[in-house]
């Protein structure tokens, strides 16, 4: 049976721009996903701890402070350390084009900047989580 997709939405770093993360969280919930929102100012360690506790399929990190390279790098390292290969890592916020390949290389599967429709994010998550689940032993 397909359990509902569980998503951890997190604000990492120090910036307080939570408009986007909240809009996306509500849209994912309206699309039938189970959404856990961490609130503001989390370290990568806190994000990963919450993701493990909540046994999520997806981590969505929102960063608008310019610290995305540092924070995504740390987050990915921790994900590897804890063997979270089956968890999809996504990013949202202000990410300059030239940083996108660096983040994708790190293993950030999707980056959603300003102007992205929430529908696009919903569809992306459904598709990618499906793929990940097919890879896992039942």
């Amino acid at each position: 049976m397909n359990r509902p997709i569980r998503v951890l939405m997190a604000k990492a770093g120090l910036d307080g721009h939570d408009r986007g993360v909240k809009v996306v969280a509500r849209a994912l919930r309206d699309a039938g996903m189970e959404v856990i929102y961490t609130g503001l100012h989390n370290t990568p360690e806190q994000v990963i701890k919450a993701a493990l506790q909540e046994d999520v399929d997806v981590i969505g990190l929102s960063i608008l402070s310019g610290a995305h390279l540092t924070i995504f790098k740390k987050t990915r390292e921790l994900m590897k350390q804890y063997g979270m290969d089956d968890v999809l890592l996504l990013g949202g916020g202000i990410i300059p084009d030239e940083d996108k390949p660096i983040l994708e290389e790190l293993g950030v599967k999707g980056l959603f900047g300003p102007g992205t429709s929430t529908q696009e994010i919903v569809e992306f998550i459904r598709r990618e989580v499906q793929k990940l689940r097919e890879l896992q032993p039942a």
Binding site: L14, G16, R26, A27, T43, T118
Partner: protein, 562 residues
């Protein structure tokens, strides 16, 4: 009895409009602003038949200041074109400041990095990757010595966008002034120092709301005596709007915050006519052109009446709402970024027609990264074109008397007052208490998140059109490539090194002693400002000082809610 206008309108609707609509219907069912306010087809004298010129508008410089706070407005002096700047370490920002001063600018505006804004030192684990990125990094007075090296504080006015750590930054500025031998009463500038909107929208905080407001009133009490030419607060709607509020919510929550600060000052025993003239405001200017103008005009009228009637201020300087405006960052698009230049121009024009005292225009590349120098120049030129070429600054409040603008001003005012009364009821008659409870219960946060979500749904359904995003789109490969600004990661290393050097070289016992005295004063509920100044002069860091306040008052953590 029907008015003449009513009869005329009915005739027009039947004879002229109806046949026209039959032939071709209007473009849409509902015409709405970006804040989901419905706009009527036509406004006539009947929409403003109760408007009383003297009572509701007044001449410029006259109560209730709907037409502007100064008698000559921009014919006398243009608004201040104040572009916000700061990046890297204090060395880089000092060089930028000197460049701007050489170019004839007399006002500086400082952007701090996230760790400084949150009251953390550059070597704090949460600061990693953020040092010097969004603004200049400041840890101790040593950084301020570099930041203001060669800049005489009696000749400039400096604006500091700083909130939870505002007392420390304000103390550092005074300390530099003291060292330069500038009398404190000559210091000019502004600290944002508005914590209520932080809890509501921008989300930078250290201690909980109630002690945060106590610290602000400490600054009022200290500043009225010590630095009478310094704006001690900039009560801000900008961030409330950026977080997704409507225009009415921005106005209502900001003015309620302003009234809350007035009430907190009165509770401390301060004189309303001493405090009020040192208050200033900061608003957003968004896309719906006329709605923004109406908001600025309504803001002045509501504030003047509240200060005079509700709080009994006698001095006309207390009644005047003076404000800074910034164009809406959240309206900028990553797609086809050059289009943002046009958006910013329209928003800036609305701010000018609304009578702003100073203006920051955003750069077109800000949905992509921090602005480049070229983008900043275009943003400034946009203001200069409005000021010198368009002619809109040559007469005062040119839109007064427009049926539409006056009706909209009344409507925005009415709806904002409804919110303010709701907040007052929440606090059993006290707006200060109402704002505290609204924050504690998540009232403001919910209202804003709801408005942001509604707007997003309207964008996705196509009811709100964003050119280049949900209409007139082009493939990403064809989109304009714009250069973006990069911050050297070296800044973080250098900043941490300097902080550690200061820690080694300073008189450790003096730091300990001044921090202990500050803690004692905070526990005894004495005014903390003199003690913070003492600690700053002993080279205690931003993080160490804020840590003391956290020890006394506890750390704030927002309940996460969606």
């Amino acid at each position: 009895m029907k008015t003449h206008v009513q009869t005329e309108r009915e005739r027009w609707e039947k004879k002229t409009l109806e046949p026209a609509l039959k032939k071709s219907p209007e473009r849409r069912e509902r015409f709405i602003t970006v804040s989901n306010e419905e706009i009527a087809r036509l406004y006539t004298p009947d929409d403003i038949k109760d408007l009383d010129y003297e009572r509701d508008l007044g001449c410029p410089g006259d109560y209730p200041y709907t037409r502007g706070v100064y008698p000559t407005m921009y014919r006398g002096r243009l608004w201040t074109m104040r572009q916000f700047a700061g990046f890297g370490g204090p060395e880089e920002t000092n060089q930028r400041f000197k460049y701007l001063l050489k170019e004839g600018q007399t006002g500086l505006s400082t952007a701090f990095d996230m760790p400084t804004l949150m009251g953390l030192d550059s070597d704090h684990p949460l600061a990693d990757g953020e040092v010097g990125v969004e603004g200049v990094a400041v840890d101790t007075l040593r950084d301020f010595e570099i930041l203001f090296d060669g800049i005489p504080l009696d000749q400039v006015s400096t604006s500091f966008t700083i909130n939870p750590s505002a007392p420390v930054i304000y103390a550092m500025y005074i300390a530099i002034g003291d060292r330069q031998g500038v009398p404190r009463e000559k210091l000019r500038g502004t600290i944002q120092n508005d914590m209520l909107k932080e809890f509501i929208a921008q989300k930078e905080w250290v201690v909980p709301p109630r002690p945060s407001v106590d610290l602000i009133v400490d600054i009022f009490e200290f500043g009225i005596r010590e630095t009478p030419k310094f704006n001690l607060i900039s009560i801000s709607g900008y961030h409330i709007r950026e977080a997704g509020s409507t225009a009415v919510q921005e106005l209502a929550f900001t003015l309620a915050d302003g009234m809350a600060y007035v009430e907190a000052a009165l509770q401390r025993g301060l004189d309303i006519d001493e405090v009020a003239p040192q208050l200033s405001f900061f608003f957003n200017s968004h896309n719906s052109f006329f709605e923004e103008i109406a908001k600025f005009r309504a803001a002045r009228r509501i504030w003047a009446r509240a200060l005079r009637e509700r709080y009994g201020a006698q001095n006309p300087e207390s009644w005047k709402l003076r404000f800074h405006t910034q164009t809406a960052g959240c309206s900028l698009t990553e797609q086809q970024p050059l289009n943002n230049i046009v958006r910013v121009a329209l928003q800036a024009l609305a701010a000018v027609l609304g009578g702003t005292q100073s203006l920051h225009t955003n750069s077109y590349d800000e949905a992509l990264a921090l602005p480049t120098e070229e983008a900043v120049r275009i943003a400034l030129r946009t203001q200069q074109i409005i000021a010198y070429e368009s002619g809109v600054a040559d007469t005062i409040d040119p839109l007064a008397g427009s049926y539409f603008v006056e009706a909209l001003t009344n409507e925005v005012e009415r709806k904002a007052l409804e919110y303010i009364h709701k907040i007052e009821r929440l606090g059993n008659g006290s707006i200060l208490e109402g704002v505290f409870r609204g924050i504690e219960q998540g009232f403001f946060q919910r209202e804003i998140a709801q408005a942001a979500y509604e707007y997003q749904k309207q964008v996705e359904s196509g009811e709100q059109i964003i050119v280049g995003v949900n209409k007139y789109t082009i493939p990403k490969e064809q989109d304009q490539k714009v250069p973006t600004l990069k911050i050297d990661p070296e800044v973080q290393r250098r900043q941490i090194e300097r902080l550690q050097q200061v820690r080694r070289e300073r008189d450790a016992r003096a730091v300990e002693r001044t921090l202990a005295r500050l803690e004692e004063a905070a526990r005894q509920r004495q005014n903390t400002m003199p003690y913070i100044l003492e600690a700053v002069k002993a080279y205690a860091s931003v993080g160490e000082i804020m840590e003391v306040l956290k020890r006394v008052h506890g750390a704030y953590r927002e309940p996460a809610m969606v």
